[in-house]
Each structure stands twice: as structure tokens, then as C-alpha cells.
């Protein structure tokens, strides 16, 4: 797995490349937690190059979104973890496990960044 990170004004875009299994999940979790610790709670995960995910990877996503949502300026301006570019196989895992309805999922980075 490789992680690349782009800091925009309001949003941090985190691209994940390769596999996201029990072996890689802790590293992604650390990277996301590091952003939270800097007070950055608007995170867009770009999965365009994510090849494979298993349940430990899913767990990181859900925990990250739970934490992000707890941070809020007002009820209308809260942290969030959103997803852009979900490949079909990853989408299939999301559908099987009931994750699709838990996340805002976008097809376009500009649109996704603008959604925050």
C-alpha cells in the first residue's frame, strides 16, 4: 500500500494505492489519526488506485468517520470522511457489508472536495 496526501484549504485528500488488508490497515489508521491530531477533520479518501480491501480495512474507514463526525463547529459544519473513485470490486465489498449507505461517495474529486 502507498499513501499520498494533498492538503487543500479545507480538505485533506488521502490517496490509497494497492492493498488495504490487516497488514496495511494500521498504517492508514495512523495517517488519518495524525490528521485528526492536527485538527484536520475533513478528509477525502481517493480510492482510484485501491486494488483490494478486506474487513480490517473497512474497520479503519468506519472508525475514522465516527471520529471525524464527532468534531463540529456547528451542527451544519462537522468533520467527515468521504470517499471518491470507488473501484467496482471495492464497491462490491461495500455493498456486501452494508457500507455503501455509511459514506458519502463521489465520482469526481472536484465535486467531492466541493461537497465539504
Amino acid at each position: 500500500m502507498e499513501i499520498n496526501h494533498r492538503r487543500l484549504n479545507r480538505v485533506d485528500v488521502v490517496g490509497v494505492t494497492g492493498r488495504l488488508t490487516a497488514a496495511e490497515a494500521p498504517e492508514l489508521q495512523e495517517r488519518i489519526n495524525a490528521l485528526f491530531n492536527e485538527g484536520r477533520y475533513r478528509i477525502l479518501l481517493d480510492f482510484a488506485n485501491l486494488e483490494y480491501i478486506s474487513s480490517p480495512g473497512l474497520r479503519v474507514l468506519i472508525e475514522a468517520r465516527k471520529r471525524a463526525r464527532e468534531w463540529k463547529i456547528t451542527d451544519f459544519d462537522r468533520g467527515d470522511v468521504r470517499i471518491v473513485n470507488l473501484p467496482p470490486r471495492i464497491k462490491e465489498v461495500f455493498d456486501l457489508t452494508g457500507f455503501t449507505s455509511l459514506f458519502h461517495i463521489y465520482n469526481d474529486v472536484v465535486e467531492a472536495v466541493g461537497s465539504f
Binding site: T21, S55, P56, I62, P88, L96, G98
Partner: protein, 243 residues
């Protein structure tokens, strides 16, 4: 294909090698690419359970054996860790809202969902997990549409796809190379057919969309519902090439 085994120290670093081994063997057994991925994920979840639960903090060997038997691709995963009782694993939570969502039991749930048979036993001091996937002949039909697909053309689309389904195709590739316009009625016809096929374990995918037709899928969000492929070859690769 003959019997193959791989034995490694059960650690998270072993997961990628286990994955590669299972993929190679599943392909050699003749599973289509989608089934290969399902087997890969099931094996990954099983191995993760062994590493994180059976062996907890300690280590030991994990053995993965594969064979083709009675038209099934069978994987046997053996470890010498704590006895594993699948009945103690919680039912997965697939519906709670975010704040209350529990993530336990997803691995076992996926294994059972993705494989045709999953059996656990504790035997001679070892956990033995046997999982099997039926080997289906990869089979697909290509339906090429032309012109304007609107309300008037929707019944014809329906008729053509149903003809392909009657010919035995559960996997349908709809080629849109010569389609210049697609209306909401056309989309709806495709959606209903895709739903029907998916209920039956098949799928309907689309390929070779002209830009203005692709735009319709993008604007309506239907690109989340359908797999869109650039070429017919790309679309059929996912179904395997046995046909």
C-alpha cells in the same frame, strides 16, 4: 490441477503471499476473474482470523492447501493456534447507523457470502477450515444496440437482452458503440434487466459508450450502478474467456 500447499509463519506479512498463491491456484483451476477475486477475499479473511485470533500474540504455522475436486476449487487452511469456534463469532451488523455500527463478524460473514461451502473443524490439535467454490464455465453474451434508445426502443432492448438470457447467458455485455442517445426509459429498461440478472447471480455490464451517452450515466449516478467498460474485451475479461 494437482494438490498444492503453502506453509508460512502466521504473520500479517504473510497475507500478501497467501493472497498471490490463492489467486494463482484459483486461476489455474479455471475460475473466472470475479470468482478468483471472491476466493482471494475469502482466503484473506480466513488467514487474517488465524493470525489475529487463533494465534493472538504468539506465532505458528499456517498452511494453505488447494485442490480441484468434483468441479469445486477447494481451499483448506490449517493452523495450530487456539481452537476456533465459529458459533462464538457475532452476527455481522449490516444496517445500524454509523454511530452504532459494530464491525465484528464481517470476516466470517464475507467468507460465507463469497464461497459456496465453508466448514470448520478442530482435529488432531489443529483448526481445519475447508472452503469451496464451484467452478462454473465462464459464459457471457454480447448484445449490441444501435441508434436512439428511448421509450419507443426500450421494448426492443428488453427483447434482445432476454433472447441472450434465454440462450443461457447470465452475464450480459451490452455494447453501446452505435448508440447515439439514451433516454431515461432506456436506462430504466437496462436497470430492470440488470437487477433480474443479479438476483440470479449474473450481471449486465455496459461497454463502448459514446461520450454523450457516458455523460447520461454520470449525471444520473447510474455509473455507480452499472459497470462501464471502454471496450468489449475489457467487459468480457471480467467474465473469463471460456466462451
Amino acid at each position: 490441477m494437482s494438490f498444492r500447499t503453502l506453509t508460512l509463519d502466521a504473520s500479517l506479512e504473510a497475507l500478501a503471499e497467501i493472497s498471490d498463491f490463492v489467486v494463482d491456484q484459483a486461476r489455474a483451476a479455471g475460475l473466472d476473474e470475479h470468482a478468483v477475486w471472491e476466493v482471494q477475499l475469502a482466503a484473506d479473511e480466513a488467514a487474517t482470523n488465524v493470525i489475529q485470533h487463533s494465534y493472538r500474540q504468539c506465532s505458528g504455522p499456517i498452511t494453505i492447501a488447494t485442490q480441484v475436486i468434483a468441479n469445486e476449487f477447494e481451499i483448506t487452511i490449517t493452523d495450530q493456534g487456539e481452537p476456533f469456534n465459529p458459533d462464538t463469532v457475532p452476527e455481522p451488523d449490516l444496517v445500524s447507523p454509523l454511530e452504532e455500527r459494530k464491525t465484528g463478524g464481517l470476516g466470517l460473514f464475507l467468507m460465507r457470502k463469497l464461497m459456496d461451502r465453508v466448514e470448520f473443524r478442530f482435529q488432531g490439535g489443529e483448526n481445519v477450515l475447508v472452503m469451496a467454490k464451484r467452478i462454473r464455465q465462464a459464459d457471457f453474451r454480447v448484445v449490441s444496440l444501435t441508434g436512439r434508445i428511448d421509450a419507443a426502443a426500450a421494448p426492443e432492448v428488453n427483447r434482445m437482452v432476454r433472447q441472450a438470457m434465454r440462450d443461457g447467458g447470465k452475464q450480459i455485455v451490452v455494447e453501446l458503440r452505435d448508440v447515439t442517445f439514451l433516454s431515461s426509459s432506456g436506462l430504466r429498461a437496462l436497470l430492470l434487466l440488470a437487477r433480474e440478472l443479479r438476483r440470479d447471480g449474473g450481471d449486465l455490464v455496459l461497454c463502448a459508450l459514446q461520450p454523450q451517452v457516458a455523460e447520461v450515466f454520470h449525471l444520473t449516478g447510474f455509473d455507480q450502478i452499472f459497470q462501464l467498460h471502454h471496450t468489449r474485451e475489457e467487459a468480457t475479461a471480467g467474465f473469463g474467456n471460456a466462451a
